[in-house]
Symmetry: C2
Subunit: 162 residues, 2 copies
């Protein structure tokens, strides 16, 4: 089926997840996963952080990335409701993968070298829900972000099966 | 901060949401929002549907879209656990926006003409959580998908503020 002409140019711009502590989450998504902060919007009660991978080989400037943030795909929006990071009564957010609260499943990062990516994450102390060697599917893994959201790691090219 | 070199080439490939009835969801994401089905994986208990917008002006073939599905951004994975569509006891999935189950917030589609996009969705009977005219932010809207997940609609270029 051809998409309706009225949807021409539509893009799947971003996915939003709430996070308890932006310092911890920003460190994880930038220093561990390699995203960059392209936009930040602070409101009285909450702050929004928009992150994305650079696909310009470092050629785009910070200003260009900011200007282009709505006209691309692959943006991750992290919402911080102020105060959760210091609230000892805060229960944490639901991963979406257990009842009650099942619905959302995961975000996925595709990598040129899945083995190297998983080894590096493991060496950095990132917890895993499923390692490459666990279970039947040996070409995907699930790591956990600081809030417990599942992050699938997938290869960019599937191995050819005989 | 420059991203770690080990993360070069990483892409935010997809976001996964569980859906109750794939017939209803596929119709919504293709006929209403304009995505295309680029891959489908059927297992004994569940089926995975991978959807994405075409950004090739219709030039890429179905085979090319399938082959490229892991090496791009902006893929939406819908997981159907077989049987939910006919199960009168099935409670539905959590949107992620109410307790218990708060965490995931929404996915967002950016559009060249936000007014036209919202008018069309409204004329097709899509329910809205927030219309363009509701609340303070007049340039974004939130529609609801068939499972009640929030879909933000955003412009691709922000209006210049005086």
């Amino acid at each position: 089926m051809t998409p309706p002409p009225e949807t021409a140019g539509f893009k799947f711009n971003h996915t939003m997840l709430r996070v308890k502590d932006p310092k911890v989450s920003l460190k994880f998504y930038t220093e561990v996963l390699g995203m960059e902060l392209v936009s930040e919007s602070k409101f009285s009660d909450f702050t929004l952080y928009f992150l994305a991978f650079d696909h310009s080989d470092g050629k785009e400037t910070v200003e260009e990335k900011h200007a282009n943030r709505l006209n691309r795909e692959g943006i991750l929006e992290l919402t911080h409701n102020h105060g959760t990071e210091d609230d000892s009564n805060f229960q944490g957010y639901a991963s979406g993968n257990t009842d009650p609260g099942r619905g959302f499943g995961h975000i996925a990062i595709s990598t040129p070298d899945i083995e190297a990516a998983c080894e590096r994450l493991e060496s950095l102390g990132v917890p895993f829900k499923k390692r490459l060697t666990d279970g039947k599917m040996k070409n995907i893994a699930f790591a956990l972000d600081p809030d417990g959201y599942w992050i699938e790691l997938v290869p960019q090219r599937m191995a050819q099966h005989p």
